[in-house]
C-alpha cells in the first residue's frame, strides 16, 4: 500500500511550487486584474504559466484562504459577467504593501539562485 502512494507522489509532473510563490502570483493577479472569482484566478494563472503551475484548479483555494486569513485579500459574493453568482476576491491595502515586500524578496532570492546555480555550472 505504502509503495503505491509513494509512486503516485513521485510521478507528479507539475512544478512543485513554494506556498509563498503561488500566493504572490494570486496577489499579483488580483492587483493587475481587479476583483476576480476563484475560477478566474485559476484560469489566469494556468494561461500565463502554460499549465505549468497548478496541480489542478482546486489548489488555488488554500492559497485564497491563507491570503484572506492574513488580511491581504478580501472576499464578497457577487455576480459574474454572465450573471452567475460567484465569490469575488480583491486585494486590500495590506495586500498591496505585501506585494512590494514579496517582490523584493523574490528578486533577492532569484538573484541568489541564479548566482549559485551559475557558479555550480561553472565549477563542474
Amino acid at each position: 500500500v505504502e509503495s503505491l502512494q509513494e509512486s503516485a507522489r513521485v510521478s507528479d509532473p507539475k512544478l512543485d511550487l513554494l506556498q509563498g510563490t503561488l500566493d504572490l502570483m494570486v496577489l499579483r493577479t488580483l492587483e493587475s486584474m481587479g476583483a476576480m472569482h476563484g475560477y478566474g484566478i485559476a484560469r489566469r494563472i494556468e494561461q500565463l504559466s502554460n499549465d505549468q503551475v497548478l496541480l489542478n484548479q482546486g489548489t488555488i483555494y488554500p492559497s485564497l484562504v491563507r491570503l484572506q486569513n492574513r488580511g491581504w485579500i478580501s472576499a464578497a459574493w457577487g455576480v459574474s459577467d454572465n450573471n452567475r453568482k460567484a465569490k469575488f476576491y480583491s486585494i486590500t491595502k495590506a495586500g498591496k504593501r505585501q506585494i512590494k515586500e514579496e517582490l523584493a524578496n523574490w528578486e533577492r532570492l532569484s538573484a541568489v539562485m541564479g548566482r549559485v546555480l551559475a557558479a555550480g555550472e561553472g565549477g563542474a
Partner: protein, 893 residues
C-alpha cells in the same frame, strides 16, 4: 502582525465550521458552473463540459480537504476527532473505563493530597516581598528540638554586628487578652514586634499603615498602637474601614488600631495564624532588660549564601552561648555545646517543617511508587484491550491511516483517561487532604501553645502538580499500548481471522508488567511493615509502664502549692477512687509520662565524684502512693512511697539508669542525693525500672521521684487511675468522685495513656497509617493484575487445554500448568521487589535515624503477603483450567 491575524482568523474559523463549509461548497459549485460554461463554449456536450470541469478542479472533496487545512485549526480538528473517538471507545466498555479511572484517580488523588500538605507546610512561600531571601535562626541544645527563640539583647547584637543580612527582625509570640468596646475579654494570638517588622518582612498594608520604627520607642505614647489581621477586621468589624483609629484594650492597655495586614498575611508560622501585632516597646520592662524573647527572621544580602550567613552568625552567637552558660543557675555544662543553625524561611518559621518534613517526604516517595504501580497496572489492562482492538487498528492501517496517527489516537485515549482521573482525583485529594490535616493537627501541645490551624488551599502549585502527575501517568501507561498500536502489522492481524497472534515478546512483556506490580507491592508492603514496626516499637518497646487501661485526669493547676486540709482530701480521693468497681489503683503525679511536661535538675550523689563538664540533668517527678504499681513500672528494690512519706524523713525513689550511673555495683538503698539548687538531701528508699518520661523517641532518662505531697503542700495536678476495664467506661464515675472530694479544683482534662502517647507520635502514626494503606492498595492491584493475566492466559489456551484433556491429561495437571505460570511471575516479582526494598531501606535509614531497619521481618512479611496474595489471585484461573470441558473448549473456536 499578519501571523497573529492569521491565528485569530483560524481560531474564529474553527468555531464557524458549518457555516464556512456551506459557503465553500457554494463557492465550489459556482466554480464548476463557470468552468463548465467555458467548456460548453469550446463545443463540449453539457455532460462532458461538466465532467472536464470537475477534472480541472481536481475533485470536490480534495479541494475541501485542502481548504479546511488552511482555514481553521486542523491539528485541533484532529484532536477533537481523536477525543470523540476516545470517548466513544470508552463508552463501549464502561466497566473497564470506570475501573481504570477509579484506580488512577486514587493514585492521582493520593499524590495530590500529600503534595498539598507538603506544599502548605513546606513549600508555599510567605506572601511577602522576595520570600526566598528570608532565613531564620535555630538554637540547638543537643538532644532537644531546634528552637527559634532569642532574647532581645542578642537580637540587637545580631542585628547591629552582622555583615550578611540586609535586615533582621523578629516577633515575640503572645496570647493577648483583648477586649473591644469594654466587652468581654477574649484571648487572641498575636505578637510583639520591633518597629522594622513589617518593612523588613516585606508586608504592605491592607488598610491604613503598619507598625513603623517610630512607633517602637520605649516610653513613647506613640507605641500604644496595634495592627490587626484581615480576618480580625472581617470577623469583629465586618471590614468597616472606620476600624482605623478605634481603641481596643490589649493586656489591660488601651491601644489604637492603625492598620490591617493584607488578607493573605497571617503571620510567619504556618498553622498558627496571628491576629494582632503590637510594638515591642509595649513590653517596657522586658525590652529594657533585653529579656523579651523573639523568634528571629532575617533577609540575606544579595549574593550571600546561607552557609556564609551561618558561619558569621555562629561567630556572633558565641557571646550569647557564653553568656547563657556563665549565668546558668544550674551550671549545665551542655549549654556550651549549643550551636546556632541558619535555615531558609521562605515558607515561614519551621516548627511544623521540623516535625513533618521528613515523614511527608517519605510518604511522597511511597505514594509516587504507588502511582507507578497503578500506571503499570492500567498499562497492562490497556494492553489487553489493545489486543482485542488489534483488528480495528489493522483495518485502519490498511485504509491508509498513518502509524503516527494511530499512536496519537491511542495516546489521546490514555490522556483523556488520565484527565478524567485527574478531575476525580482532585475531588478525592480534597477529602484526603482534610483527613491528613485532621491527623496533623491532632498532636499534643504544651499549655499555652495554640492549636495548629492548617488551611489547605488548592492553589496553582497543587493544581499544576496534579496535572503534571496526571500527564506523566497518562504518558507512562499509554506509551506501551501506543507503540503496540503503531507497530500493528495489518497482514498478520487480518490473516489471524479474528484471533490475534501473540508474539513470545508480547507474552513475556505482559508477564513482566505483572511481575513489576508484584515487585512494587513488595516494596510498598515492606515499607509499611517497617513504619508499622517503628510505630509499634515507639508505643510498646521499653517504655517502662503499661499504657493500656490507664485513665489520666488533670485538675486545675491551682491545686499546686495549696496547703491546709488538701493532703488529707487527696488521701480521701485516692481511697474513694480505688473503691470504684473496675479500678485497680489510683495515684497522684506531677507530670504524667509523654504529656509534654517534665521537670529536671542537677543532683549530687553520695560517694560519686564527677567533673563539672560531665554533669547532666536528672529528670524529676513527684508521685503519690502506689504510683509505680498503678503505672505498671516494676519496683526493683526497696519500697514505693506511702502516705507516711508526706512528712518527716525526706525520701526519694530512683530509676535503674540513675542507680547504675551514680551507684554502679553498690546498693543505692539508704544512700543520699542532694539537689544542687535547693541543697535538700533525700534518702533513697526504692529503685524502680526505667520508664520513658518526656520523649518517647529518647531512651529513658535518669529519673528521681519525690513524694507528690510534702509538708502539707501538693505538687501534683494529675491523677492516674489503673483500671481493670476499659478506662473510658469509668470516666464519668471518676469525674463524679473527684467532684465530690475536690470540688474546688475542676477537672480540666481527661484522657487515656494510649491517647496521650498517640498525640506525641503523630508524624509516625501518619506515616504508618498511610504506608499501610498504600501497601494494601498496591497488593490488591497487583493481585488484580495477576488475576487478569492468568485469566487471559487460560482463555487464550482454552483450545490447547481442551485438546490435552481430550488426550487424557488430568485436570490437576492443567491447573498446575496455570499455577506454574503464576508462581514464575510472582517469583520474578518477589526477587525484583526484594532487591528494590533492600535499597529503599538503606535510603529510609539515611533519612530516619531511628527506624528499626536491622529487622528483616517487614521485608519477609511483605514478600510472604505478596506470595499469599498471588496464590489467592491464581486460584480462580487455575480452577477454570481444571474444569475446562474438552468438548466445549474444542467447539470454542
Amino acid at each position: 502582525m499578519s501571523l497573529l491575524r492569521e491565528a485569530w482568523a483560524r481560531l474564529r474559523s474553527f468555531f464557524r465550521k458549518g457555516e464556512l463549509d456551506a459557503d465553500f461548497s457554494e463557492e465550489l459549485a459556482s466554480h464548476i458552473e463557470l468552468a463548465a460554461e467555458d467548456n460548453l463554449r469550446q463545443g463540449m456536450t453539457p455532460a462532458e463540459a461538466r465532467r472536464q470541469a470537475l477534472i480541472q478542479l481536481g475533485g470536490i472533496e480534495p479541494a475541501k480537504e485542502a481548504h479546511r487545512e488552511w482555514r481553521g485549526l486542523p491539528w485541533l480538528d484532529g484532536i477533537v476527532q481523536d477525543l470523540r473517538h476516545a470517548f466513544r471507545s470508552m463508552g463501549r466498555t464502561p466497566g473497564f473505563t470506570l475501573t481504570i479511572i477509579a484506580v488512577l484517580s486514587l493514585g492521582i488523588g493520593a499524590n495530590t493530597a500529600i503534595f498539598s500538605l507538603l506544599n502548605t507546610l513546606m513549600l508555599r512561600p510567605l506572601p511577602v516581598r522576595d520570600p526566598g531571601e528570608l532565613v531564620e535562626f535555630l538554637s540547638v541544645y543537643p538532644g532537644d528540638p531546634r528552637l527559634n527563640s532569642f532574647n532581645w539583647k542578642y537580637f540587637e547584637r545580631f542585628r547591629d554586628q552582622n555583615h550578611v543580612f540586609s535586615g533582621m527582625t523578629g516577633v515575640s509570640p503572645n496570647n493577648f487578652q483583648v477586649s473591644l468596646d469594654g466587652g468581654e475579654t477574649e484571648e487572641l494570638l498575636g505578637g510583639y514586634v520591633p518597629g522594622n517588622f513589617f518593612s523588613m518582612v516585606g508586608v504592605k498594608p491592607g488598610l491604613g499603615r503598619l507598625i513603623e520604627p517610630q512607633d517602637d520607642r520605649l516610653g513613647s505614647p506613640n507605641a500604644a498602637v496595634a495592627v490587626v489581621s484581615w480576618s480580625f477586621w472581617n470577623s469583629r468589624f465586618h471590614l468597616d474601614p472606620s476600624i482605623l483609629g478605634k481603641q481596643i484594650v490589649v493586656n489591660r492597655e488601651p491601644v489604637t488600631i492603625i492598620g490591617v495586614t493584607p488578607r493573605e498575611f497571617i503571620g510567619l508560622q504556618v498553622g498558627t495564624p496571628r491576629f494582632l501585632w503590637i510594638p515591642a516597646a509595649m513590653t517596657p520592662s522586658q525590652r529594657a532588660t533585653g529579656e523579651l524573647s523573639l523568634q528571629l527572621i532575617a533577609r540575606l544580602k544579595p549574593g550571600v549564601s546561607i552557609e556564609q550567613a551561618q558561619a558569621e552568625m555562629r561567630l556572633l552567637d558565641r557571646e550569647r552561648i557564653e553568656d547563657i552558660a556563665r549565668n546558668s543557675p544550674t551550671k549545665d555544662p551542655v549549654l556550651r555545646q549549643m550551636r546556632l543553625d541558619v535555615e531558609p524561611a521562605s515558607a515561614g518559621f519551621s516548627q511544623l517543617r521540623e516535625r513533618f518534613g521528613k515523614p511527608l517526604l517519605a510518604l511522597m516517595a511511597l505514594v509516587a511508587l504507588l502511582l507507578l504501580l497503578m500506571c503499570v497496572n492500567v498499562s497492562s489492562l490497556l494492553l489487553a484491550k489493545a489486543v482485542a482492538r488489534e483488528r480495528e487498528m489493522a483495518v485502519r492501517v490498511s485504509l491508509g491511516a498513518s502509524r503516527f496517527r494511530l499512536l496519537r489516537q491511542v495516546l489521546t485515549e490514555s490522556l483523556a483517561l488520565s484527565a478524567l482521573a485527574c478531575a476525580a482525583g482532585l475531588g478525592l485529594a480534597y477529602v484526603g487532604a482534610a483527613f491528613l490535616v485532621h491527623i496533623v493537627v491532632s498532636g499534643r501541645r504544651p499549655p499555652g501553645v495554640p492549636p495548629i490551624e492548617i488551611n489547605l488551599q488548592l492553589d496553582g502549585r497543587v493544581l499544576l502538580f496534579s496535572l503534571a502527575v496526571a500527564l506523566t501517568a497518562g504518558l507512562l501507561f499509554g506509551l506501551i499500548p501506543a507503540f503496540r498500536a503503531m507497530r500493528s502489522a495489518p497482514m498478520n492481524s487480518l490473516r489471524a481471522a479474528g484471533k490475534s497472534s501473540e508474539t513470545r515478546f508480547a507474552r513475556l512483556f505482559g508477564r513482566g508488567l505483572v511481575a513489576t506490580q508484584v515487585g512494587l507491592s513488595v516494596v510498598l508492603l515492606s515499607a509499611a511493615g517497617l513504619f508499622a514496626a517503628h510505630l509499634s516499637n515507639l508505643r510498646n518497646v521499653g517504655i517502662g509502664f503499661a499504657s493500656e487501661n490507664l485513665l489520666l485526669v488533670s485538675l486545675d493547676p491551682s491545686i499546686n502549692g495549696q496547703g491546709e486540709s488538701l493532703p488529707l482530701r487527696c488521701e480521701q480521693l485516692l481511697t474513694s477512687l480505688q473503691a470504684i468497681p473496675g479500678v485497680h489503683s489510683a495515684s497522684l503525679v506531677g507530670a504524667t509520662p509523654i504529656s509534654g511536661a517534665a521537670a529536671s535538675l542537677f543532683i549530687t550523689a553520695e560517694g560519686f565524684e564527677e567533673p563539672q563538664q560531665d554533669r547532666r540533668y536528672t529528670a524529676m517527678n513527684g508521685v503519690g502512693p502506689r504510683y509505680f504499681e498503678t503505672l505498671g513500672t516494676p519496683l526493683l528494690a526497696g519500697r514505693e512511697f506511702g502516705v507516711q512519706d508526706w512528712q518527716g524523713r525526706k525520701v526519694a525513689i530512683v530509676n535503674e539508669t540513675l542507680a547504675e550511673h551514680y551507684f554502679a555495683g553498690r546498693d543505692p538503698l539508704g544512700r543520699h542525693v542532694t539537689f544542687d539548687r535547693s541543697g535538700e538531701t533525700y534518702e533513697i528508699v526504692g529503685v524502680v525500672g526505667d520508664a520513658k518520661y518526656y520523649e518517647l523517641r529518647d531512651p529513658p532518662p535518669r529519673t528521681i521521684y519525690l513524694s507528690a505531697v510534702r509538708d502539707g503542700r501538693v505538687r501534683a495536678r494529675n491523677i492516674v487511675v489503673r483500671t481493670n476495664v476499659s478506662p473510658a467506661s469509668l470516666e464519668s464515675q471518676v469525674r463524679r468522685t473527684i467532684d465530690e472530694v475536690l470540688a474546688d479544683f475542676p477537672v480540666v482534662k481527661v484522657t487515656t495513656m494510649t491517647a496521650q502517647i498517640d498525640e506525641a507520635i503523630v508524624p509516625e502514626r501518619l506515616v504508618a497509617l498511610l504506608s499501610g494503606l498504600f501497601g494494601v492498595l498496591g497488593a490488591l492491584l497487583a493481585a488484580i493484575g495477576l488475576y487478569g493475566l492468568l485469566a487471559y492466559l487460560v482463555a487464550r489456551r482454552v483450545n490447547e487445554i481442551g485438546i490435552r484433556m481430550a488426550l487424557g491429561a488430568a485436570p490437576r495437571k492443567m491447573a498446575g500448568m496455570v499455577f506454574r505460570d503464576a508462581l514464575a511471575t510472582v517469583s520474578v516479582g518477589l526477587a525484583l521487589g526484594t532487591g528494590a526494598a533492600l535499597g529503599a531501606k538503606r535510603l529510609a535509614a539515611a533519612v530516619f535515624s531511628d527506624l528499626p531497619i536491622d529487622q528483616g521481618m517487614p521485608l519477609v512479611l511483605g514478600a510472604a503477603a505478596m506470595m499469599i496474595v498471588g496464590l489467592l489471585a491464581s486460584y480462580m484461573p487455575c480452577r477454570r483450567a481444571a474444569r475446562t470441558n474438552p468438548v466445549e473448549a474444542l467447539r470454542h473456536d
